[in-house]
Amino acid sequence: MKTNLFNSLILALATLWIGFSAARAESTVDVIANNSVAAASLDKAGLKDTLTGKTAYWPGGEAVTIIVLDGKTDAGIEESTGMSASAFKTFWQRLAFSGRGKQPKTADTVEKLMAMVAETKGAIALVPAGTATAGVKKIEVK
């Protein structure tokens, strides 16, 4: 009886842990880009380098333009760059005002962001997971 109870407890904890891990692993954002961007996928380090200016150009030589959905992808910024949204903003202001980078653009709605990404060559953006991506390309993050 005691063994059965113990086994059930272990099973329940394991199930909870697996569920919790799966929830943690699931990203809150999708990555989209302008159709001119040649890349179809990025690994997590490549995405971080792109969003933090270490990679300022796409492989074809086109400048990366970051577009931020104001206030709606803060968790995604943190999971992709390791920085809070306010730290991310300050980080880019430091680069821009010292001549070392191009400050991200911002959009206040998903619709405006999608239009900006569709219009801007080299653009990359984070959108809430599951957002329809017509007119832009979705970048797979591996």
Binding site: N34, N35, S36, V37, A38, A39, A40, S41, L42, D43, A45, G46, L47, D49, T50, K54, T55, A56, Y57, W58, P59, G60, G61, E62, A63, D70, G71, E78, G82, M83, S84, S86, A87, T90, Q93, R94, A96, F97, S98, G99, R100, K102, Q103, K105, A118, E119, T120, K121, K137, E140, K142
Partner: protein, 405 residues
Amino acid sequence: MTPNVRSAEVATNDKSAAAPSKEQSFLRLDGTDLHIGDLPPITFHGFASQGFLSSDTYNYLGKTKEGSFEFTEAAVNASISPFARTRISAQAFLFDVGNVGRWSLGLDYAMIDYTLRDEIGFRAGRIRRPEGIYNSIQDIDLTRTSVLLPQGMYDARWRDFNASVDGGSVYGNIGMGGAGSFSYEVYGGQVQLTEQGGVARWLQDLLNNPPTEYAGLHGFPQAGLQLWWTTPIEGLRAGAAWTEAFGFSYDYKLNVPPVFGGGPHHSEIDAPSEHVSLEYQHKSWTFQAEYKHSVYDSKDDLRGPSKSGNDTWYVGAAYRVNKWFEVGSYYTEYYADVSQREGTDAFQKDFALSLRFDPLPWWIVKVEGHSIHGTALLRDNANNPPAMHNNDGWFMLALKTTISF
């Protein structure tokens, strides 16, 4: 490292992606982007800051005993990427801190930047000089919590000496797998000094005392290196910098008969510095610590050779409470002569507490208190007679507001 592209497909349907539609005019402003026909957009950003300084014992960074609004910074920059892997950018800047700067408009940077690959790129023109966490952005209020940076390391008055060089740099970022990444920037060029700058004001204050008289100063070549190691610990980076000012020089007159050494004189200084930095960002916290040591190797045709050195350090922390409020604090010490760490004018120690409010995304307001001991950074004898200096504590209030776009 370029992005790790697992599979690539070149889009063929994007030819009109950036082209203006028929209804769009030849010249149009879209947010901060200026579009001219089919050319890549020119992006503009800028800011303006106005501060107020008030102190209870000494005039520091202006005539602050009576309260000083002579604390202003403003800049506008523009950038364009006209060719693949190439960016051209420039920033106009003006500032005033007490009697330094005097709102004189200058070119802060103006350069062409070519990135061959992530590991190597080149900048040429007037570039902001990298050194430590803040040198390249020391006068950009919106990029930090505090109003005043630790002044022994980032003196607001000495920006013409520290900010930019006319020359070039080679830079890059090298991935090191599980060991993080390593970035570098090596630079060299000529530093331009102005008669409204902090060095000139310091020399004028020091030398315009009969029988000596200030007679001018000269730009000088400078070279240096900044290294950063972004460690595998998320948010932790460590930096080391070296720089040397080669032959910074100034002239003065001694108005006494030639037999007593009177006439024009020249002084020349080589000044190498080492600077180490540590920064850790974790969620809403930022922790920073830096140390800098400088040597001044002087040759003066009247006083002969001399050698001295100063050093300074600080530790600081900031916490972003929410979207509109941040609090920060630092403690810093500066020693004017590393061989003489006690006595009047030997040191300045400063504990600062800062509150930053962001009521709107484009508007910042800051309130800051400084509890200071020592007078080594006053450098304004005309308004602080040396006879009144002592090591008792004194206080400074700093207020600042910044708007940006």
